[in-house]
Amino acid sequence: MNSRASFSLDRRTFLKATTAAGGGMLLGYAGPSSAQLDSAALEFNPFIRIGSDDVVTLIVHKPENGQGAATTMCMLLAEELECDWDALRWEFAPVAREYGFPLQGTFGSLGVRTSWQPLREAGAKARTMLVQAAAARWNTDPANCRAEQGAVINTQTGATLRYGALAEAAAQLPVPEAVMLKTPDQFRLIGKPQKRRDTSAKITGRAQYGIDVRVPDMAFAVLARSPVFGGTVASVDDSEARAFPGVLDVVQVSRGVAVLATSNWAAIEGRKRLEITWNDGPNATLSSADITSRQRELVASPGAVARNDGDVDAAFASAATTLSVVYEAPYLAHTTMEPPNATARVDAAGCEVWSGTQIPGICHLNAVAASGLPPAQVTVNTLYIGGGFGSRGGGNVYSEAVEIAMQAGRPVNLLYTREDDIRQDRYRPASYVAMDAALDADGWPVAWRGRVSCQHFQELQDGLDREAVAGLADTEYAIANQRFEYAPLELDVPTNFWRSVGCSQNTYFAEAFIDEMAAATGKDPIEFRRHLLAGSPRLLNVLNIAAERAGWNSPPAAGRYRGVAAVSCFGSHNAQIAEISLDGGKVRVHKVTCVVDCGQVVNPATVLQQMQGGIVYGLTAALKGEITLANGRVQQSNFHDYDALRIDEMPEIDVHIVPGNEGPGGIGETSTPAIAPAVANAVFKATGRPIRKLPIRLT
């Protein structure tokens, strides 16, 4: 499964231009961002500036979705730089090739995985230069010097020089070609829980998110978009909207009609007063039932082959027992707490965009395309992100804001209201899978086949979207004969990545069906998995630890039921056991035992947060999440009909992190896939009826 580390980069390649992803990250910095640098500070590389005032500033190139990237990136740099952890400053990187443009951003649970080596090297190289400068000052060998807490110490004389006093001389030195990095036993910061560097801003109201940006002469804007996907404006009467106090302007842009006002409230009220006739276009009657029936038809014929091991047909022909099932998962919106928004200014000086964006590189490309300006005249400012979960990698919001700003001739802060967010999101695609299993006379599976139909997350390659079958066609289970196919569904419903992407639905399909296979011959679900995971030691290990921590071998209290799921994804391994009860027709999740092996841990506090957070995100979807369409329109609009898990529904989550030194695995998405099947399998145990459709419903 480690192959998914590099695969993840590929699957996110929604741009053709991939050459600079992760490359050119290190030294030789002379990018467009240099104008922003404090002239008093000396740049050692794109990630480190040290001022003669002794201020060390680290540049964070991974946007902060809330997953602790700012702290983690600083830890990687500071570990080798040997600066004073408590005194360092940090700031978000501008858009530049050195930071991974065009795929500069936070996605794919790749933050630590792609930064682990280059950031530690950047820290070590800068430290080496500082030590060399000190050695020259003391006329001694660098071997007689060591760096500690932002200073170089002469081990022979005890003399000390602060980094600030050395920065000017050190920055003139050649950058070392190669450096020795610490071994894990030498880590001072890595592997030890560190407090987040963004907490104080976030508990005082000081943290600036995209929605908080205010620039001179700015108007607040909302955009009326076609309620049917692909519809267009036929005619508009904006007289009442313009008459509303505070409305400044109404402009028509490619995706609808924008109302600009002195406040968001006036913009929203003005928009209510627009009289728009829409051309609904070809999707005017599209409904969820239509979509399901098209999927049902699609899986009746062969699709693109994603995996074909052994001889599946022969295995089915000689099977003792066969099982045939259909599973379904719905469209999902992301509902980040901060709804989508962007602020744009376009004038003679160029185009400037402010937004909390997961991928500033894509934001920059969108702004370049929308403004028609050369890239050098376009600036992207990265702010705190009020939740991403895959939604903030691109989308229409940046180009909409730029287009409105250009049409109106003034800066705008464009807000998606919650209703806009839910009805105009790019959704996790609804998926439909027909699966069969062939069991031998002892009840062990000898063949597993499945055909998935959903819209694709990304462009097809040879008819296949690997992500559409991720978590199903690539499980760790040792079943000799496996065939999985993908039948693409082509629709105008906009789709997008959603925390854990294909695994968000396919791990549910796989892990719930595995429980059905086990139940078919009365086998214990964990014993059944153990039998099939003998060749996957890390996944087997987290499964075994989870079983022990959850007390799997002793029965739960009366009225309680347990379910298990296990998955390797994003370079990490995760097992979860959910303990539930059925409470007046509702599923109540009391406890989740979560064991993760993500190899080398950078910040255990962050891993803990991400395990908890990923489970809550997945549990909301498992219990409540469903976007439906009728008459071409999304039927949900706000938290009353597209709810999120609340604190009184929060299970106790017991997280155990398996220590390890393997290359770090991802953590941002790792815990989301297993929770739905763990809960579904517990409900199956409770009711004897398998859960074949999300969200989980008892009736």
Binding site: G66, I203, M337, E338, L415, R418, V616, I647, M650
Partner: protein
């Protein structure tokens, strides 16, 4: 338009806006106090929670006209320096992930602890039921509410101590 006078974070404030404009947008768009967040506009998510005369209130559905003569406290006014026991507890437990909902969580908790200095888990669940966190910090929030109650208790003892010494 009407001039509306009220007390905002301990200071006299007047605004000249339509009386039906929600307090949330007056705070954010007129007064540029952006710590109070928009999340749903329907009092469903709690991101916009402020105190009105000490009561936790959803500012997104509170018309500014209703505020005349009242006292409003926002996250910016909860303490001058982030030292309110709830903020200290949030810092100690490192609650926030994306952080966007946390102003509302903190304001709701501060109001809870004023009336209930030692809340049970059930009290916490009931008070914070309408504050959504999509990052899933609920377990950390529960721990932080208990921690804040402890810190508040300690402050109360500290404040009492000199009086007891004199008695």
């Amino acid at each position: 338009m009407a001039v509306i006078e009220f007390t905002l974070n301990g200071k006299a404030q007047s605004v000249d806006v339509p009386a039906e404009m929600p307090l949330l947008w007056v705070l954010r768009d007129v007064l540029t106090l952006t710590g109070t967040k928009y999340g749903c506009g329907m009092a469903l998510c709690g991101a916009c929670t402020v105190h009105i005369d000490g009561q936790p209130t959803r500012s997104c559905l509170t018309e500014i006209g209703f505020i005349a003569g009242r006292e409003v406290t926002t996250i910016e006014g909860l303490s001058p320096d982030g030292s309110h026991p709830v903020q200290r507890a949030w810092q100690e437990i490192d609650v926030p992930q994306c952080g966007y909902c946390q102003s509302g969580q903190i304001m709701t908790t501060a109001a809870l602890l004023k009336n209930n200095p030692a809340p049970s888990d059930a009290d916490i669940d009931s008070a914070l039921h309408n504050n959504i966190c999509r990052c899933g910090t609920y377990q950390m929030i529960r721990a932080a509410v208990h921690k804040a109650a402890e810190l508040q208790q300690a402050l109360a003892y500290d404040a009492m101590a000199p009086q007891e010494a004199n008695a």
